[in-house]
Amino acid sequence: MIKLFATTTTLLLILLPLIFNMQASAGQSTIVDMANRKVTISNKVQRIITSFKPATLCLFALGLEKKIVGIDTSSKRDKLHRAIMPEVINLPGVGSKSSGLNFETMVSLKPDLVILYAQKDGIALADKLKIMNIPSIIILPESFESVKTTLGVIAMAAGVPERAELVEKTMDSVLELVKKRIQMLSIDTRKTGYFASPRGLFSTATGNMLQDDIFTRSGIINVAHDLKGYFQDISPEQFIKWNPDIIILSQHISSRVFKRLENPAIKTVNAIKSKTAYRFPCNLAPWDFPSPLSAIGVLWLASKTYPELFEDININRKIDDFHKTLFGKTFTQMNGKTDEQIF
């Protein structure tokens, strides 16, 4: 009963501002996006352009993949997207957040809705699209709460708010399960962890990042929690000084870094000695990334770090169920693998 109340309250808190900001008019509604911009959108959105991977993952989780007419180029190659909708490879690529979007391609696709990022030229692009009478929304998924808000904003814009509720509920049920188990641990028995970013072994996630949140929710103390900003480089000496109990390598990291773990000085670190260095799964789409999949990442990480707390739970089944609810296919059906062990 308490869980139901908490879930409903959270959903209301997220959705109420959006509901109140909607102004009904003939076939149109106005929503406020995550950059606090008021955007008027057609009630029948049929053609969506997505410009970066977290947005694309959210669209797929919301079941809106059939409405995508233009996609960020790198997402076309993603195994998860191809497993859900093989024809994604034939969609026109509009560029990427890092190398820039092709404005003319986007306009030529005649979208009803463009989903843009808050960083770099995202807001400037949104202003240009407004001149062309093309509605666009800015999203900023960087934490669990902002991922949920992102889902709410996209779902509201695309006219499928009930789907966002389902995805959020699925995420919350997984996070709640982990939270209950982790609560059994006392503070002094919690393990310390280090996250190696896609940039390399000595580049780590700071206290401002989603990965820090994933660690905290998994009952792990991020050794780099006090660092601020985006991924920060550290020296090998600092890494040894932190001496983490567990090392988590980003799914995107190159396998070349494994060789660095063979350095005799690095081998003195607890995580290497106890062979608790893992690569964040999975082969379909990373779980250490701002998307609904990060919830399943928390479950996986907590079960790896404190296996004794999750002995009674079939983790693989949970992963399968999660994917089935969000994407209509189980993890196993999509040939998902979690080959995470480094040693």
């Binding site: 991977k53 790198s74 190659r77 990427s96 957040k97 890092s98 190398s99 970013s197 896609p198 940039r199 390399g200 000595f202 580049s203 780099a224 006090d226 660092l227 991924f231 920060q232 480089d233 550290i234 020296s235 090998p236 000496e237 600092q238 040894i240 000084k241 995107h252 990291i253 190159s254 396998s255 070349r256 060789k259 350095n263 005799p264 000085a265 690095i266 081998k267 003195t268 990373p286 990334f289």
Partner: protein
């Protein structure tokens, strides 16, 4: 230590002399005071002292007694890896190779810069003028996105493309064969632009979440990746190059006068130019292949050395090498020790190098130095 103390006393004497003769301040240089050798001793002593400070400074506290015991174990022939404590392993496998590499990189880049400036008779020339750094960077980026996951491949491709870039520059210059020095610089710019364009194509087509961060991280200059293997590879190349420069430093004086004067003095400028460019390029390619691009060292250190030791390469080359090593060692020590996050060494070299270079330009205005 004796040389360092001797040098320090001499420098204090120079300082007292300068302070006591304020009106002659501009006219005085250490070179003019005929204290060239003692100044080199002073710099050598400073480098040794700084190296010592550098190996005892870092995020992990390692005492001097621990360091001494490491060397005792090394020289006793005991089972090395089993005998060392955690701190000692950090010292031996991480800090020491890094400090040695900082010295190698500092010496290599700065002397290469000095040689290039002499050969091209242009004070704005730096070691990457012939596209060597751009070629290396492209090679490394290519190695990073190829399906073969090998660190050696990245190093090899970086080195090979660096040498290809220099060969292209020299080949283009030879084809044109008019005003060789200017044409060589222009050919270098062509090759530099070409490899930069290739790098941009690689970055454009690389995965923004997977390959691109890897490329960006690699390109950013850092000594974090240094291992003993890198030291063993870079040391012979840089060492041989430095010895060659020391042996030919007198020829550099003649080459810097121009081809006509060199020929009139019985020298074949083309042969010496090719030899010196090839040696410098090898050093730069090796450095970039190991540590990525480290800016400013090759440009400002030769200028600093010229201000201190004068334009004659007999003294200027060793002073450049020592100053380069001191600068790089200090920058790297700051990069890895100031905060728990490592500051990219390129930021430190640029932040300190830019104002120093600006000051040198101001100080030497109208002196005929530029």
């Amino acid at each position: 230590m004796f040389f360092f103390v001797k040098g320090l006393i001499n420098q204090l004497q120079v300082l007292v002399y300068i302070l006591g003769n304020n009106k002659k301040l501009k006219a005085i240089s250490i070179y003019q005071l005929n204290r060239k050798k003692t100044f080199i001793y002073f710099l050598t002593g400073t480098l040794v002292l700084l190296f010592f400070i550098s190996i005892v400074t870092g995020r992990v506290k390692i005492s001097i007694s621990e360091i001494l015991s490491i060397f005792k174990i090394v020289f006793s022939g005991d089972n090395f890896s089993e005998s060392l404590t955690s701190n000692q392993l950090v010292f031996w496998w991480i800090r020491l190779p890094r400090c040695i590499m900082a010295v190698i990189v500092g010496m290599g880049l700065s002397v290469s810069g000095a040689v290039y400036q002499a050969l091209f008779r242009n004070p704005l020339v730096s070691p990457d003028i012939l596209g060597v750094a751009a070629g290396c960077t492209f090679g490394a980026a290519l190695g990073l996105i190829l399906p073969v996951e090998s660190f050696s491949l990245v190093h090899i491709l970086a080195f090979v493309f660096g040498i290809i870039a220099v060969s292209m520059s020299m080949g283009i210059a030879k084809l044109i064969a008019v005003k060789p020095v200017i044409v060589l610089v222009l050919a270098g710019m062509v090759v530099l632009s070409f490899f930069n364009a290739l790098l941009m194509i690689l970055k454009y087509f690389s995965d923004p979440y997977d390959e691109l961060p890897n490329i960006v991280f690699w390109i950013m200059g850092s000594l974090t990746r240094v291992t003993w293997h890198d030291v063993y590879t870079a040391l012979p190349v840089t060492g041989c190059g430095l010895v060659l420069f020391m042996l030919l430093r007198f020829r550099l004086n003649i080459l810097s006068l121009g081809d006509i004067q060199a020929k009139s003095l019985g020298m074949n400028p083309s042969i010496f130019r090719i030899t010196l460019i090839a040696a410098s390029s090898f050093i730069v390619a090796m450095t970039v292949a190991t540590c990525g691009q480290i800016c400013w060292i090759g440009l400002i250190i030769p200028h600093m050395a010229r201000t201190i030791a004068g334009p004659e390469h007999e003294n200027m080359i060793p002073v450049t090498a020592l100053l380069g090593a001191i600068f790089m060692l200090t920058a790297d020590m700051a990069a890895r020790s100031i905060t728990s996050a490592e500051i990219p060494v390129g930021i430190i070299t640029a932040l300190t190098g830019a104002p120093i270079f600006g000051f040198l330009l101001y100080k030497n205005r109208g002196s005929g130095w530029l």
